[in-house]
């Protein structure tokens, strides 16, 4: 069954305040739509459950990239092309620029938004491993005000998140303190363009005198939602990168991930690839050290 446009209402109040008022007046009734690269696919196929949609496209307050000496604040409706074109993101947060280049194709990157990628909450979300590796925070907004929390606490289950019915994802905050970290991002998929990740890993680490002082590992497609690999990080923190430490990290990763069999891959393949990708990063870190 094809989607029928007459069965769906779509409004574009045009300002952030008007959108928030609408969400507050009828909480849970309205589904926000930004670039439509997810919801319009469901619509075309006749699978879009939402009957009342409110457009976030073209709201200037949501499509921003702001710099402070400490951080980069990315508006939730910044597109992946906006991220790819941004000089500071390319220079200081290259994993995010790389992840942006993985989103579908140019025609998807011109419409798909960072906030949409997170709110959609796919376990395979392309931007998530980089955001987790960079210790991102998210900021929500509603008529009741704003709140900030670690991105690692945003997802609460498969396609579930902390947003209340009247809340929008407002911004993603990234600290500018990774210049000295080794940074790594790898996606394993069927082909370079368009494909959804079978496994993806983002990582940042600081090595001092051969010992890991800081490490963050963000994974996609290894759990019901994108997640930090905390047990694996704990196994590595304070360790020198000996063969034993790498093996211990591999064991820790296998113990904490919960990959599944699905149309894109198998749980067994995902486990094997995940430990190998982790090892690739750790060997690179041992060989090259942190960045100068």
């Amino acid at each position: 069954m094809r989607g029928n446009a007459e069965m769906h209402e779509l409004v574009a109040p045009g300002s952030l305040g008007a959108v928030l008022d609408l969400l507050a007046a009828e909480p849970g009734q309205w589904t926000p739509i930004a670039g439509g690269t997810e919801l319009m696919v469901a619509f075309s196929a006749g699978h879009l459950d939402a009957h009342k949609l409110v457009s976030l496209w073209g709201i200037p307050d949501l499509r921003t990239i702001e710099l402070t000496p400490q951080g980069v604040a990315i508006g939730a409706a910044a597109t992946f092309l906006d991220l790819r074109k941004h000089a500071v993101i390319n220079a200081e947060l290259p994993l995010l620029a790389k992840a942006a280049s993985w989103i579908g194709s140019i025609a998807n990157q011109s419409r798909a938004t960072l906030g949409g990628n997170l709110v959609n909450g796919s376990p395979a979300a392309d931007s998530s491993p980089a955001l987790l590796a960079y210790d991102a925070e998210i900021e929500t907004i509603s008529v009741r005000g704003r709140r900030r929390l670690p991105y690692s606490e945003f997802h609460t289950g498969y396609k579930r998140n902390v947003l209340a019915a009247d809340e929008l994802l407002y911004a993603i905050h990234l600290p500018r303190r990774f210049a000295r970290h080794r940074q790594y991002l790898r996606k394993v998929g069927t082909r370079r363009a368009m494909a959804i990740a079978k496994v993806a890993l983002g990582a940042t680490a600081l090595l001092e005198q051969g010992v890991i002082r800081e490490i963050r590992l963000g994974a996609a497609s290894l759990a019901p939602y994108p997640t930090r690999l905390r047990q694996t990080e704990a196994a590595l923190l304070g360790q020198a990168l000996t063969r034993e430490a790498v093996l211990a990290a591999r064991r820790a990763l296998l113990a904490e991930v919960q990959p599944i069999d699905d149309i894109r891959s198998t749980a067994e393949y995902r486990r094997r690839v995940a430990v190998n990708v982790l090892e690739e990063f750790l060997l690179e870190l041992r060989r090259e050290g942190s960045r100068p």
Binding site: G3, A5, E6, H8, E9, L10, V11, A12, I33, G35, G36, T37, M40, V41, F43, S44, A45, L53, S55, W57, G58, L81, G104, S105, I106, A107, N108, S110, R111, R192, A193, M194
Partner: protein
């Protein structure tokens, strides 16, 4: 839905205005109607094709406010005020766009379903990167699927169009009249 119910709905539809290939257009359609369907059904611009209907194949690519988009994923309300270019807007005064010439002469088109989207993706690429590398051509067209050509001739067509625009940087009417004068002089 009853006839009455439907009429009521129609009355609620907003008038949505935008420009297509430089012409102001307005439509009164359900705001969730896909830009693709508005172009084809309401504006009778059937050059833009539907392939997959889910943003994977690029057949429906058009340019909107200077960006390449899949028109199957744009609810038409979000095109309000936009400047849209479709494949029908490439040729000027009956003269093919250099990309169209290049596809024609390099075997870049076979069955034709992907061709309008390929042309629009290529136009987008050349607008931002007039001298693209092979890798840039491949990335620029990565979201456009072709099941006939094996892609190589399409990539060659785009490269040829970029070279052609090098050879004749300005394609101006003045040049034509110059040419005409030359003929007359002979």
């Amino acid at each position: 839905m009853s006839a009455n119910g439907k009429l009521k709905t129609v009355a609620r539809w907003p008038t949505i205005r935008f420009t297509v290939n430089g012409e102001s257009r307005s439509v009164r359609v359900p705001p969730m109607k896909r830009l693709l369907d508005v172009l084809r059904e309401d504006l009778h611009l059937t050059g833009t094709k539907e392939g997959c209907g889910e943003g994977e194949c690029g057949s429906c690519s058009v340019r909107m406010n200077g960006e390449l988009v899949n028109s199957c994923l744009v609810p038409v309300l979000q095109a309000e005020g936009a400047e849209i270019q479709t494949v029908e807007g490439l040729a000027l005064d009956g003269e093919l766009h250099p990309l169209q010439e290049a596809f024609l002469h390099n075997g870049g088109a076979q069955c034709g379903i992907c061709t309008p989207g390929m042309l629009m993706a290529a136009a987008q690429l050349l607008a931002h990167s007039p001298h693209p590398s092979d890798a840039e051509i491949r990335e620029g067209l990565a979201g456009n699927l072709c099941r006939c050509t094996g892609f190589v001739r399409i990539f060659e067509s785009v490269a040829a169009a970029a070279d052609a625009s090098d050879a004749e940087p300005a394609k101006e009417p003045a040049k034509e009249s110059e040419l005409e004068q030359t003929y007359h002089a002979r």
